[in-house]
């Protein structure tokens, strides 16, 4: 197969790019990029091929970076990326996702911004901030952050977002109005375990068939929905823990997703028993398969954060994850076996794949 893959990596000390060969075995590292800014998320605009990176500098504030030449040169902008002078200080960008001519940025404190000029200027999607529940949103351990942005595959008016300790929302009118999408999702830490909102979604992904089929890794379990999040069904059974951050969906099989359970919210948040593994389902979460083949099985007290797992579009699918201790692991056989791709990086906050010509 001639296609090559690049891995885009966000860290608190800049972005990095791993350029792979066609076998996905040899990787060459470039970086740090984006002037060493703390990059929470890095992704690709599927239409333009531009790389987008969202984050902040401790000195110069938040911005979205853009590269039109696979990471060789970069520009940045935060024009309009503000709650204005009477609003709260926007501290950083947690997610940047492009879809059908628009780029969305999820920020802290939680809110959504949109750019329709390639990231040069931004406008606040005020409909979400104006949601009647907003005054009761409380930050999670990582802050009050909008970290997941899931565009509908064909309908540009529909979009889902995930906000930690608040839950999932959907708009069907291009962001003017939003509805909570948390029914069936547990908030095990709350007096009412099934509230309208307040669930701690950790990562929201869309299945390969698009449209109505979603999965989420939550603070309290793993869930799937077949109706666009109006109702969720818990599919945690079979996993070693209900807690974890990242999740990735197969690019062609809607029943296959990968997740990385961590031992527990209050138990250190590392791989259970210090034994590293990625778990996958091929039946929509009815059953789960563990793979630690090629991963450290002893004394591996490593964590993986919400954006730090990604899949490529090849056959078989490549699966990649980065650890909060700076290792990048990859699998070229859909998560059955693993190899160390890079080590000694800063803590890895995000991983994304990019198809190269």
């Amino acid at each position: 197969m001639a296609a090559r893959t690049a891995l885009l990596i966000g860290t608190p000390k800049g972005a990095f790019i791993l350029d792979g060969d066609a076998s996905r075995r040899d990787w060459q590292l470039r970086g740090p990029l984006c002037e060493g800014w703390a990059i929470h998320d890095i992704s690709v605009d599927p239409e333009s091929g531009a790389i987008l990176a969202g984050g902040a500098s401790p000195w110069y504030g938040p911005a979205v970076w853009r590269s039109n030449d696979t990471g060789s040169t970069w520009t940045h902008s935060s024009e309009g990326l503000t709650y204005d002078d009477d609003g709260p200080k926007l501290t950083t960008v947690w997610n940047v996702t492009a879809a059908r001519g628009a780029i969305y940025a999820g920020v802290e404190p939680a809110g959504l911004f949109r750019s329709v000029d390639g990231g040069t200027t931004w406008e606040h999607v005020a409909g979400l901030t104006n949601h009647p529940t907003r005054s009761d949103w409380q930050p999670g351990n990582g802050g009050l952050i909008l970290h997941s942005i899931v565009p509908h595959r064909t309908d540009p008016a529909r979009l889902w977002v995930g906000i930690s300790a608040v839950g999932a929302f959907e708009t069907r009118d291009g962001g003017l109005t939003w509805e909570t999408r948390n029914r069936g999702v547990r908030a095990g830490f709350a007096p009412d375990p099934y509230p309208e909102f307040g669930q701690c979604v950790h990562k929201l992904v869309m299945a390969a068939d698009g449209g109505e089929h979603l999965y989420q890794q939550n603070h309290c379990g793993v869930y799937r929905s077949s109706d666009g999040g109006e109702q969720w069904e818990e599919v945690t059974s079979g996993l070693p823990s209900e807690f974890g951050f990242p999740m990735a969906a197969h690019p062609r099989d809607p029943m296959t997703v990968w997740t990385i359970p961590l031992n527990g919210a209050d138990q250190g948040r590392f791989m259970p028993d210090g034994s590293a593994a990625v778990w996958r389902t091929h039946d929509g979460g009815e059953s789960w398969i563990r793979s630690g083949d090629g991963l450290p099985q002893h004394n591996a007290y490593i964590g993986v954060l919400r954006e730090a797992m990604a899949v490529d579009g090849l056959d078989p699918v490549g699966v990649y994850f980065g650890t909060s201790t700076g290792q990048l692991y990859g699998s070229a056989d859909e998560g059955r076996s693993w190899a160390l791709i890079a080590d000694n990086l800063p803590p890895i906050w995000s991983v994304e794949t990019m198809a190269l010509g």
Binding site: S57, W59, Y60, E79, D84, D85, K89
Partner: protein, 91 residues
């Protein structure tokens, strides 16, 4: 308007965000805020890197006018030396 422009000294980490921008350039204004406005005209986007909501100088940035720490309202005398200096922070 001041009789002569201020001379602004910018840190490496700031000019690196704007390819081609100089470390030292002249800017006009009778206050720090006005000088920053003029810098932004010369280097579009620079204001967003220096100012937070308020507007106010970003928390970990310091501006000195003629060697004295300043805020946005501080007067800038003609031909004053203005230094923009990132705070020593991070890990």
């Amino acid at each position: 308007m001041a009789e002569g422009p201020a001379v602004v000294h910018m840190p490496r980490s700031l000019v690196a965000l704007f390819p081609g921008a100089p470390r030292r350039l002249e800017a006009r204004g009778i206050t720090v805020a006005e000088v920053i406005d003029d810098l932004d005209r010369q280097i579009p986007g620079l204001r967003n890197r220096l100012l937070d909501v308020g507007p106010a100088l970003r928390t970990h940035l310091n501006v000195f006018v003629a060697g004295v720490r300043a805020d946005l309202d501080t007067p800038v005398p003609p031909r004053a030396e203005v230094h923009i200096i990132p705070a020593v922070s991070g890990g």
